[in-house]
Amino acid sequence: MSSCARKGAAGHGKTAHIAIDPVTRIEGHLKAEVTVEGGKVVDAKLSGGMYRGFETILRGRDPRDSSQIVQRICGVCPTAHATASVMAQDAAMGTKITTNGRITRNLILGANYLQSHILHFYHLAAQDFVQGPDSAPFVPRYKNSDLLTDRNKGLAAVNAAAVDQYVEALDVRQICHEMVAMFGGKMPHAQGLVAGGASEIPTKDRLIEYAARFDKVKEFVVNKYLPVVYTVGSQYKDLFAVGQGHRACIAYGVFPLNDEMTKFMMKSGVYYGGKDHALDPSKIHEDVKYSWFDDSTTGLHYTKGQTKPTPHKEGAYSFVKAPRYDGVACEVGPLARMWVENPPLSPIGQKALKEHFGLNAKNFRDLGEDAAFSLMGRHVARAEETWYMLSFIDQWLKEVKPGEETYVKPEIPASGEGTGFTEAPRGSLLHFLKIEDGKIDNYQVVSATLWNCNPRDDKGQRGPVEEALIGIPVPDIENPVNVARLIRAFDP
C-alpha cells in the first residue's frame, strides 16, 4: 500500500486509501492504514513504528533490576510492568510474599488504574467527542470533527462542562499519582514494587492520607467521569454498533484477593466463538511473519520466545509481534476483563442504559455482545471498571495492617524461571523471566499493545484492532475521524 495520506477518490463505490501516521493521543508510535469502500473501512493495517529492545537489554543483568528497567517500557502504566516483573521474579526465586505485601501492591497498582483510566478518557480520548479551546494543543483539528456540538447544537453546555472536567481531571490524575507515590515512592516509575513484596510498610498516617485522596477521586468518578461517558455515549448511539472485531478476548486475572493468588478482583478467562474458556497459558504463542523479526522465531511460546529484529524484512509492516491464544486473535483491556468477570453495573450505568437504550442491564454482559464489543462499549467498560474497583480499594484499605511487614528478602537462585501474569489498565500483560548463573538468561514481555495492536499472524488473520476497524464508517475521507476514534477506544 502506498504511504500516501489520501489516495483515490471519495464517495460511494470508490476505493480510497488513508494513512494516519502518527495516531496521536496514545502511548508510543503507531500508524494506521485503511482502505475505504462505500464509506466504510474494508481493510486495515496497524504498524508499530518503534523498537527499543528491552528484552535484549535485560539479558545478563541482575534479575532484581528488571522491575526498574521494564517500567521504562511505558510511562503511563509503569506500575503494571513492575507488577508483572516482581511476580515473575517471585515465581522464579520461589519467594512467598506476605499478606501485607500483596495488599500494598494492590494499593499501588489500584491507584494507577484510576490514574490511567481517567487520563485515557479525558486527556487522550475526549477530544474525539468534545471541542477544546481554540488554541494549541487543541487546534488544529479536523474541519469536520463530528463533535458533540456538531451533532447537536443544543449540547454547548454539555461540551463546556466536559472541557471543565478535562481541566479538573488533570488535578484528579495528579492526586491518583500522589496515592501511588505514597507507597511506590514516586511516579512515573515507582521504586516501591520490588521482588519479595513492597518496600514501603504502610503506616496509619499514610493510610489516612491515601484514603483522603481516594475520597476525592471517588467523588470525581461517581459524579463526573461515569455520567459523562454515558452522556457522550447517548449522543453516539451509532458507535455502539461498530468496531466489534473478532469478538474474542482474554484476561489473566488482576488484583489478587487471597495469598494463594487464586481469587482476583477481575478473574482470568478467555472468550471466543461465543463461548467461555478457562485460561491455559500454554496456548499462547507469538507469530512474526508480518513483523520485523526473524522468521526463524515465529510461532514460539513465550517461555521459548526470542527477540531478533530484522527491520528491513520484506512483507513485514510492524515492530509488534502477533500473539495468539490457540490461534485466536484476542483483544485485551477493560472490555475483556469486564466481559470475563461480568460484574454488576453501577446504578448510574443501569439508569442510563435503561433511559437511552431501553436496556434492563444489571451486569456487564447484559449490554449484549454487539454493544459491549463496540467502539463506545469499550469506553463504557473502562468507566464501569473504574467504578467497580472503588469498593475494592476501600476493602484493601480496611485489610492492610499498619506497621506489618510487606517485604521478604528474595534469594536469587543459580537457575530458575517464572511468569508474572497481571493486567495493565490497558490490558493483559505477562513477563517471563529465566535465570541462569544468577543472571537474566531470557526475558520476554507480552504486553497489552502486543495483544491489541498486532499485525496479521502467520495465517494472515488480522490483529484485534485491525479487525475492529473493518466496517468503521468513513463517510468523508478528508475527515476520517472514526478511524483513530476506534483505535483510541482500546487505549493503545
Binding site: K31, R52, F54, R61, P140, L170, V180, G184, G185, Q191
Partner: protein, 318 residues
C-alpha cells in the same frame, strides 16, 4: 513582577526554606514571561523518539504553575503526540510549518533518544509529504531551526535505557547526535528517568525570563552559564544526594539498614546510589511533596549519564 536569575537560583537552591521551586512561580510570573518570543506564547514542538512518554506524564504532574497554566498561558504547544488534538500527516506538516515560520524562535523539546542504526528505522514518528519520517529525519530538519533544544529525560540527555548495553538500535543522546551531524543549536539537558516536573518547568521559565531580559542570544547565553559539565542546570542538579540525605547521620554513625522495608539506617547497604547522583530530590521530593526514592527504597542514579549500566545492579552495594 519579574524574576531575576539570581532570585531564581536562590529559589532553586532552596534559600527560601520549605518552598519548592514550582511553588514560587506566581501566576503573574507566567503572565510576565508570556510574550517573550514573537509577541505571543513561544511555540514549543515536542517530539518523542525512543522513549516511554514518562517525561510527558511527569510534566503533567506540574503543580504550580499548574500544568493547565503551562499549556494555556506559558507556552504554545504546537506539536505533542500525546496531547494534541491533531493527528496524521497534517499534524506532521503543521509541525514543519511552525519550524519554518518561527525559525530561530521556537523551542524543540526532545523526549526519548535518537536511534541511528538501520537508517533510523527503529523509530518512525510519522509521515509528511507522503514520506516516512524517522526520528533521525525529524531531528535533522527541526534542530538546526530551533532557538534551543531541551533534551528532556535521561534518554534524550544521555541515551538512557534505550542506549544501554544489549541495545541494537544505535540509540544516542541529543548532544551526541548533534556532534555527529554538526548541529550547533544550544542544548539544555534535563535528565532524570523521568525528570521532576519542576526541573522542566523551572528551566523553561528561567530561560524565557532570561530571554525577555537580555534578548534571545544573550538570554540563552545566560541559561548556558547555569549548566554543569554534563549540560544540566546546576540549580537543580548541583547537589549530591548522599551529601544532603536525611540518612547521612546514620551513614556517619555506621548505622545501615538491613532490608528494603526497614526505614532507619543509611540505605547504601541495600544498593542506594545516592553518592553517585547529582539532583535535589532530597528536598524537592516527588508528586507534590509526597515522597522520594531514597525514603521509599533506593536511589538508582537515574539522572546520571551512565544510567542504567553504571548505576546497576540497583540492589547491590556499590
Amino acid at each position: 513582577m519579574s524574576l531575576s536569575r539570581r532570585d531564581f537560583v536562590k529559589l532553586c537552591t532552596g534559600t527560601v526554606a520549605g518552598m519548592g521551586i514550582s511553588q514560587m512561580f506566581h501566576p503573574s510570573v507566567c503572565e510576565a514571561i508570556s510574550g517573550t518570543l514573537n509577541g505571543s506564547r513561544p511555540p514549543v514542538l515536542w517530539v518523542q523518539g525512543s522513549g516511554c512518554t514518562g517525561c510527558s506524564v511527569s510534566l503533567l504532574n506540574a503543580v504550580n504553575p499548574h500544568i493547565k497554566q503551562v499549556l494555556l498561558d506559558v507556552i504554545s504547544l504546537e506539536f505533542h503526540p500525546t496531547v494534541m488534538a491533531w493527528e496524521g500527516e497534517p499534524a506532521m506538516e503543521h509541525m514543519f510549518k511552525i519550524a519554518d515560520e518561527y525559525k530561530g524562535g521556537f523551542f524543540l523539546a526532545v523526549e526519548g533518544s535518537i536511534p541511528v542504526a538501520e537508517d533510523g528505522k527503529y523509530c518512525v514518528i510519522g509521515e509528511a509529504n507522503h514520506k516516512e519520517i524517522t526520528m533521525v529525519d525529524a531531528m535533522k530538519e527541526l534542530a538546526p531551526k530551533a532557538a534551543a533544544v531541551l533534551a528532556l529525560g535521561t534518554c534524550a540527555a544521555y541515551g538512557g535505557i534505550p542506549a544501554a548495553e544489549g541495545s541494537e538500535t544505535g540509540a544516542m543522546s541529543v548532544k551526541a547526535f548533534f556532534e555527529q551531524e554538526g548541529i550547533s543549536t544550544p542544548v539544555v539537558n534535563i535528565p532524570g528517568c523521568p525528570p521532576h516536573p519542576d526541573w522542566i518547568v523551572g528551566t523553561v521559565v528561567v530561560a524565557l525570563e532570561a530571554i525577555k531580559t537580555h534578548g534571545l542570544a544573550a538570554g540563552l547565553g545566560e541559561v548556558v552559564k547555569l549548566l554543569d559539565d554534563q549540560g544540566r542546570p546546576t540549580p537543580f542538579f548541583g547537589q549530591n544526594i548522599h551529601d544532603n540525605c536525611p540518612y547521612l547521620p546514620d551513614f556517619e554513625a555506621d548505622k545501615m539498614c538491613e532490608t528494603l522495608s526497614q526505614k532507619d539506617g543509611c540505605r547504601m547497604s541495600v544498593g542506594c546510589k545516592g553518592p553517585n547522583a547529582m539532583a535535589d530530590c532530597f528536598k524537592r521530593k516527588w508528586n507534590n511533596g509526597i515522597n522520594w526514592c531514597v525514603q521509599n527504597a533506593v536511589c538508582i542514579g537515574c539522572v546520571e549519564p551512565d544510567f542504567p549500566d553504571g548505576q546497576s545492579p540497583f540492589y547491590e552495594p556499590m
